[in-house]
Symmetry: C2
Subunit: 435 residues, 2 copies
Amino acid sequence: MPVNPPLNIALLGLGTVGTGVAQILTDSAALLEHRAGRHLKLRKVLTKNPAKSRDITLLPGVLASNLQEILQDPSIDAVVEVAGGTTWAFDAIVAALEAGKDVVTANKAILATRGAELFSIARKYQRCVAFEASVAGGIPIIGAIQRGLAGNTIVAIQGILNGTCNYILTRMTDDLLDYPTALRGAQDLGFAESDPTLDVNGTDAAHKLAVLAHLAMDATLDVEAISRRGIDTLAPLDIHFASELGYSIRLLAEIWSDPAGITSHVSPVLLKKNTPLAQVRGAFNAVRVIGDSVGETLFYGAGAGRKPTASAVVSDLVELAVSRNGLLAATNRLWTQNPSAPCLPPEKLRSRYYLRLHVVDRPGVMAEVSGVLASHEISIASVIQHETPTDAANSQVHMVIMTHLASAGRFLNAINALNQLTCVLAQAVHYPVGE
Amino acid sequence: MPVNPPLNIALLGLGTVGTGVAQILTDSAALLEHRAGRHLKLRKVLTKNPAKSRDITLLPGVLASNLQEILQDPSIDAVVEVAGGTTWAFDAIVAALEAGKDVVTANKAILATRGAELFSIARKYQRCVAFEASVAGGIPIIGAIQRGLAGNTIVAIQGILNGTCNYILTRMTDDLLDYPTALRGAQDLGFAESDPTLDVNGTDAAHKLAVLAHLAMDATLDVEAISRRGIDTLAPLDIHFASELGYSIRLLAEIWSDPAGITSHVSPVLLKKNTPLAQVRGAFNAVRVIGDSVGETLFYGAGAGRKPTASAVVSDLVELAVSRNGLLAATNRLWTQNPSAPCLPPEKLRSRYYLRLHVVDRPGVMAEVSGVLASHEISIASVIQHETPTDAANSQVHMVIMTHLASAGRFLNAINALNQLTCVLAQAVHYPVGE
């Protein structure tokens, strides 16, 4: 058989993921050549810190001194962007496309916030942008939604998309830790960054949700407008009450489609303990996809880390080598200026709710609370209120209420009204309850 | 934009899956055209029983009177084989390839037993064979292994690949039913065929395992030689003891690769209750894939049924329409005459084991049993033997032993020796314990 020319690759960034990509390309070269029908050759690597010691040894001449050296090298077919960030990385990707290179990126922030801009440039130069590594690390969820489930109208996606948060929640639940202690543990083990803000406040998950929503539902979400709550304000008490009710709390990124439009949010959500998503533990990710034909599916695996994320990058490189056409067709279709599927405002999201009220323990409180809920047409499904240890005057108690389905708008109005009651001693705590 | 020509499709078989394919092609025509960039047009349908009433209405002229009408129609691009069986279906697929049609099939039995023959014919005519629907119904596991995990050396696959068996096992476990009663329930609900032999004895799972093994590990398994036990001899007593030990029993199809070679089997296996596979309930399927880079992944969904399986068929049709190159590259690479990865005989499989012995309740029995195991170098991890209700002479008891890792060969030799002991009253019952 004739020997096909290699696919020549340049890597922008040699951090955690970049190092993993270089390792796989080196260590699995023969396997990849068998699968791709061509050698996947790492020709150039650009890194901010060329002098830093690393777990890999690059061949002489592979380390590039600047981006231009890569852009001007006509032998480079594909540029892998794993540098991160949205400014230098965006400019570098655009320059690569303009120079006629296909691009593989793990950069969910760029896709979520500048996808239309990026893909219009790619189309102009008829180059591919592949991004399997951008969501859920090693789980091949991008390909699953784009190709494997292509016969489906996607009804819903529920994702545990941030391994840091899931690790912290698992520790809080299993080891009864409070949030700051669990966070410190995650940082000590390298599961959380020294500044964990974008992970724990839900921003990272919102970026990933926007990417999945676009693929699955042709929805272009305004990331800033996604209703978003993180885990940084979650109290052990609510994990405890959830458990008593038979639920675990997970940070979910969800999008639901119905004929009226699309609703989405990122929030801690109570999930029945025996459901697959509730059982995802530690730094793992999982994505539940519901299609009109396939029904319920779940995809589970490592959501981050050197080798899992690099596995996804390399799968895109194999795809480029085997079947560039398919990736180009996707690039031509995605993030076009076509009108997005209609996105509804957050208050339209319908859910059951968990509600915890810290109230005075005196006669009439239940009547007041239930009266407010009734006046907002919020229907109560169950209530827990434990006996207080003393009969002293001014004793206080937690009242936990599970509601039936309600829209977020109506529910939040009820919460505002409850917070005005004199018997309610602190702002009401509330979380959605998942389906 | 120019309008691309349609992808013209002929359907062989209008049973459960065929009807689902026709429904999706009709009901989701606009969506599919958007995703594929071409209209997916159902041009011809061949069925054994054209007069039978169905849930779909075909357009006039779509019903073909014979296979030749389809083969000789130059407008037909792709033939979908969902007729089942390995004789007529095989000949029809070959005839379609010879007539220049690409083929989409759900036929795991043909792939597992005649893959090399089929793919060499496809290569001769440079036609594609796509088969996402052949394993695990709606779960896009073929694409996940072939493309999404292409950067990995696959170390192991463990699959719950037969929904009928998993449904029966779930009923036996949850509702304490015996096998015949659970089977009848499954038949009444349409989860099991009137002749369930190929499902419950593990043959169906072995076919699917052979397909996955080929994709993941370049292994060409002799399906007849796959060590195979079904669920039809499983006793409620063993489900009970497994549960007491913290395990659930699932019918697993497993393949493991290590430097020495590949081992595989289909068997009821004890799995720790809190592991993802143990939690797969009812007629669902799941596939756990372990890759050297990605680590542990799990893919979960409906393993059979009209719409889920049709969803997989349609995903192949979309792929044909978008990126036939990629499918052709796979066809050129799979089931070639290249030497298979080395497959080890079943006795090389290493596992922990569950062992139940029905023994006389008298002094010295434990010494005899443990002596036999020791002489075969089988190490005991734990033992359960409950007190018998009476102290009568000749009382009998079940002794349950969990072993440490051992090769199947050595373990089965020990079982043969145990069965010779006079204190052992019935053939020893034993199952592997999963990792």
